[in-house]
């Protein structure tokens, strides 16, 4: 066991004043994070997802020492984030997609130089990491451009570099692809994927773009109304919510129910009697077995495999009542 992040019963409440009449205001308590237990091991890549207002950013702010938890236990790199912020932040890289950690009026290169002083990074280490990021994120075209003149995609590549120059053990990314164009999204995902594959950096990423997660994160934590409603692999999520890969087969002739292999149910396409769909369930036959067995009984014309749509699954998850252990 080598947990880099642990939380137990982590809670954060905000007191907000709401207008109840022309002159009256009432205090109301909003529970943004409501008893979250997390254990994240060194080198993991974790997607932390949930709808707007679920409590993702608030969790990240408690893990990075920005916000004091209302109650509960939290340790990151063995440290208590708020009281030991000065020591902890040397081990963390943090990127807020909607905020900037760069100097607006200075060339990107200058921001990097200042961060070397802020984080006390030895010159050689800094130069080596910068060279690597320049290469992987293709920064050379705009290193001398003032940050305010960068496109969003260029700026985000700069933010990622800025977060990594001190060699953090844990990288927190809050909506890193928000607002980016498709090409920049791909660049950011590709970079993070390589970083995660190298295995030295623990990566926690919040997003509501599920394509980020499918590409990057073997582990998925879903939060809703401050509660964790799922923690596990993407496959487990599909399994739990009954979404399966489908094999779609086009036949030379109309489907005959007698041809179905045992253990699977076929659904005939309502518009085309020569098209059938099979749901692949864990424990049932694999796609290959299924097709092989079918081919023995009926002539096939074409086949395709349809991946379950994670967006649908998560949408269903959000609508579901607070989590039970149905999986």
């Amino acid at each position: 066991m080598n947990a880099v992040i642990t939380t137990r019963e982590l809670r954060k409440e905000f007191t907000v004043r709401v207008k109840t009449g022309r002159f009256s205001r009432a205090r109301r308590t909003v529970t943004a994070v409501d008893g979250v237990d997390l254990t994240i091991e060194a080198g993991e890549m974790v997607g932390y997802i949930g709808p707007n207002g679920a409590g993702k950013s608030t969790t990240l702010k408690m893990l990075t020492g920005i916000l004091n938890p209302t109650s509960g236990h939290v340790r990151v790199c063995g440290l208590e984030p708020v009281p030991q912020r000065l020591r902890l932040t040397r081990n963390l890289g943090v990127v807020f997609g909607q905020r900037s950690a760069l100097w607006w009026d200075l060339p990107l290169r200058e921001s990097f130089r200042l961060l070397r002083h802020v984080f006390d990074v030895p010159r050689a280490d800094h130069a080596a990491r910068l060279a690597q990021c320049r290469d992987l994120l293709d920064l050379d075209g705009f290193l001398d451009t003032p940050v305010r003149q960068l496109s969003l995609g260029q700026r985000m590549r700069g933010e990622l570099t800025a977060a990594l120059l001190h060699g953090p053990r844990v990288l927190f990314l809050d909506e890193p692809t928000i607002g980016l164009d498709v090409v920049s999204k791909q660049a950011v995902r590709g970079f993070l994927s390589d970083l995660g594959a190298a295995g030295d950096t623990t990566l926690v990423l919040t997003t509501h773009d599920l394509a980020d997660i499918e590409r990057l994160c073997p582990r998925l934590i879903v939060i809703d109304h401050g509660h964790v409603v799922h923690d596990g692999s993407v496959e487990r999520l599909h399994h739990r919510y009954g979404s399966h890969r489908q094999v779609v087969i086009d036949l030379e002739a109309d489907w005959d129910p007698g041809h179905a292999p045992e253990g699977v149910t076929a659904k005939v396409d309502p518009d085309d009697a020569r098209r059938v769909r099979f749901h692949l369930t864990p424990g049932g036959p694999s796609a290959g077995e299924l097709v092989a067995r079918l081919a023995l009984r009926a002539p096939l014309r074409d086949m395709s495999i349809v991946e379950p749509d994670i967006e649908d699954v998560v949408a269903r998850l959000y609508q579901a009542a607070p989590a039970d252990s149905a999986g």
Partner: protein, 269 residues
């Protein structure tokens, strides 16, 4: 690799901020003049008052100018160094405070460094010149301890006003943005400090002058510089109380700031 001088990173941040502002040279020069003009107006107000009356609360023009010279020099240094803290609500909204919190450095000096406004320096220079000229015109007997006092009094005033800036800004962590409330202590305090305590009513004098400490910034040091007894009867050694009072205020400000930061709620996004 730790820096031998822990101030180095903050100085680097300040230098970077000055460099980025230097890109807008014309607006910098314009602001420099504008800011200096405000301080000129503060002193002009005093001159105008003395057209109506030859003495103010028992003090002549050059004496009041020494007093306001100390007060406004101290205030202007504080405004230059920490005046930005009154923008705390803005720093919270724009996420600048969060950006400071994720770095291994103290938050307050970072905030002040990254938004340092060099254009405010004109005020310091102008107020110091007024102090020098008024002190020369007052026929001060320059002993070594008076030299010491004329230098330490504005500096202690700077520390004191810095503490007032921080304390009033920190209230933002608990209440909503309360700029007017803050201004009544910072700018109000500066104006109070620029005039002799003798012109204010008893209750106001006791509250602002002694309970809150503004009377130790310029009034008592000026009496000591000029070699005058306090018309209100306070002992002469109070002229040296500035650094002590300023230290107490600074400690209180530091403690309040740290408590406030623990109450920091962030923004909703």
């Amino acid at each position: 690799m730790a820096y031998r001088n822990p101030l180095t990173p903050y100085l680097r941040l300040t230098a970077a901020q000055v460099r980025s502002q230097a890109q807008y040279r014309f607006s910098f020069v314009l602001d420099l003049f504008g800011q200096t003009a405000v301080t000129v107006l503060d002193f002009l107000t005093i001159l105008v008052l003395f057209r109506i009356t030859p003495v103010l609360g028992g003090f002549e023009l050059h004496e009041v100018l020494v007093m306001s010279g100390i007060a406004i020099t101290g205030f202007s240094i504080a405004d230059l160094a920490v005046g930005n803290v009154e923008q705390l609500a803005h720093y919270v909204r724009t996420g600048l405070l969060d950006a400071m919190l994720i770095r291994p450095r103290r938050v307050l000096p970072q905030l002040l460094a990254v938004d340092f406004q060099l254009r405010r320096i004109g005020r310091v220079v102008f107020a110091a010149v007024v102090l020098a000229v008024a002190a020369a015109a007052s026929g001060v007997e320059w002993t070594w301890w008076r030299w010491l006092l004329v230098v330490t009094a504005p500096l202690a005033g700077a520390v004191f006003f810095s503490a007032v800036f921080v304390i009033t800004a920190t209230t933002m962590f608990w209440w909503v943005d309360s700029r007017e409330f803050s201004a009544s202590f910072t700018y109000g305090g500066r104006d109070f400090t620029s005039y002799p305590l003798t012109v204010f009513g008893g209750g106001f004098r006791r509250l602002f002058g002694y309970a809150l400490g503004f009377g130790f910034v310029a009034y008592h040091p000026t009496l000591a510089l000029l070699g005058r007894a306090d018309p209100l009867g306070a002992p002469g050694w109070l002229g040296w109380s500035g650094p002590v009072v300023a230290s107490i205020a600074a400690l209180a400000a530091g403690a309040l700031w740290r408590t406030g930061l623990r109450h920091y709620k962030g923004t909703g996004s």
